[in-house]
Amino acid sequence: MSEANILDPPLDPPQAAPPTAHAGAHDDAPHGFWSTYFFSTDHKHIAKQYLLTGLCMAVIGGLLAHVMRMHLAFPDRAVPGFGEVPAGTYNALITMHGTIMIFFVAMPVLLGGFGNFLIPLMIGARDMAFPRLNMMSYWTFLVSCVILIGSFFVPGGASPAGWTAYPPLSANVAYSGAAWGVPLWIAAVALEFVAFLMGGINFITTAINLRAPGMKMFDLPMMVWMQLVASVIFLFSVGPLVAGAVLLLLDRVAGTGFYNPGAGGDPLLYQHLFWFFGHPEVYVILLPGLGIVAEILPVFARKPLFGYRMVVYATLATGVLSFIVWAHHQFVSGIDPRLASAFSITTILISVPVAITMFAFVATLWKGAIELKAAMLFAIGMVGVFFWGGVTGIINGSAAADIYVHDTYFVVAHFHYALIPPVFFSLFAGIYYWYPKMFGRRLNETLGKIHFWGTFLFVNVTFMPMFGLGLRGYPRRTYDPRVFAHLGDLHPLQLAATLGTIGLLLSQIPFVINFFGSLKWGAVAGKNPWRANTLEWSVPSPPGHGNFDGTPVVYRGPYEYSLPGGDADWLPQDLAPGRTP
């Protein structure tokens, strides 16, 4: 069979599902409490497990950030509720904060949570291609979480080597002092990779092979495309780092010298291996975030996503380009300057495909009928805030400019502006949008709006000053702001950022209340509260085991809103031609 087939599977003649339709599902329907809530192979349960685990890790990561910020603003005082923050502890704090937020919040929530929940529902499948593998993925991930958090409590404390874990610092206990922290860190991250490799293979095969009859690749909701591309990027970029991590572990525990120049090794090798994965990784995080936005904007603007195919191709281009920019993290690390020039060029070029996607999102709003529900606010906020992260990335991307801004708070500001849109704004947008489908009840809109405005305001109060700090030359990963008095008094900026953080944390309270309260008191949501087109809205909320009675048949793309003619302004993907919603 040929390539063409993957693009358009033959549309089998639709059949009304016979009453015995989901007989097939019953034999693996859940039995009892444990199999339902713990060892369930139902992608929806696994998704919720991933989502909640990720959110809890977000709380931890956020509190770590809070401690860091408090210390930076009041260096000579103990942090209330935590105590003194000596240098070693501070390094462990940033390391764990970064590691948790990237690997244990962003990925589980965006891929493990939303990916697991939505891919089968959106393509009309009854479950993931390999439900048991899916469950294994989650439990592997949970073990890695336990190991990581456990590393706080081992002798020597958690790894202080930064989330990048550069050797020799990470490769030699004598340099870092964390006898157990670093090996545990490596183990935790390696296990996390394994978990997401299982997940990724599951996502890819499911999205390619389990599509409902009639659903061509170009009928996939953008979220599925983004999850697919993200999984592929992850799968092909993580390998070398897995190898690199093994070598690091060997250096650390077996005394080999892969990264030790004394033994003929080279520390730069690790940096290359890390960033060969590390940069694609940021798009692994960004793309699902964009996918969520791409689902929400059309629904609340009642318009098709502008230039669906264009966005798909732009996404693919972004994925390919993300493999040839990694050394922009190493411009001043002693790499060959000619190499740096080349990577600088590719890095800045990546702005084109990303801009295409972002602008398409903006264009989607044009002449829409926009309803600013909480989900929509967060979606639009994601686009607005990410522009900041994006354009400041260009400044880093110019090798010459990076000589100055590298390893300053300018970079810290850049990546928080780039990460928080997909990780928090998209996460919240997605929760406000799909919560009804997940839990059958709606979240409170007012609390949601408060949550948005608080988060939006304080994200900027927190991170805008960091651009200033960076431009003044304040280096990242330094625990005592006072040693840089000669750079000018930067305390006001530090203080602003810290106050912002406190505000940011407080702004999450309405969300937490809303999240748990609505489970009980939220208004019951029907099948399709938002009048949306994609398949997940054609089944009950929450969907039963096996998702669909019978197999949905897909007749059209996912974003047919406000088609001229007919008074309904939406047209579900599985609605037989001629019928009206």
Binding site: E3, D12, A212, V232, G239, L269, H272, I324, G334, D336
Partner: protein
Amino acid sequence: MTHTIPAPERRHPNYVAIWGVLMGALILSLLLAYLRHAQLAALLIWLVAIVKASLVISFYMHLKFEPAHVVAIVIAGVLALAILFLGLFPDIVRVYGG
């Protein structure tokens, strides 16, 4: 979109013959090791290895009979490695400021 009729039997090439070729290649590469010209030897040995691998992949692993998007997986993986190699070459082999 799923016919539950089991997989239509795919063509099975003569596996034993292929095995014979592989053995020949193995012996060849062993002989090549004795070549005077080291670079040349390395190159040829490498080529033989590639031939052997592609035989196994396309016939034993049936990649020859799979749709194009499956072949693409392997190609993508190898491409990623090529990029990695090119990116690291200037720093690991020709150490700048070494």
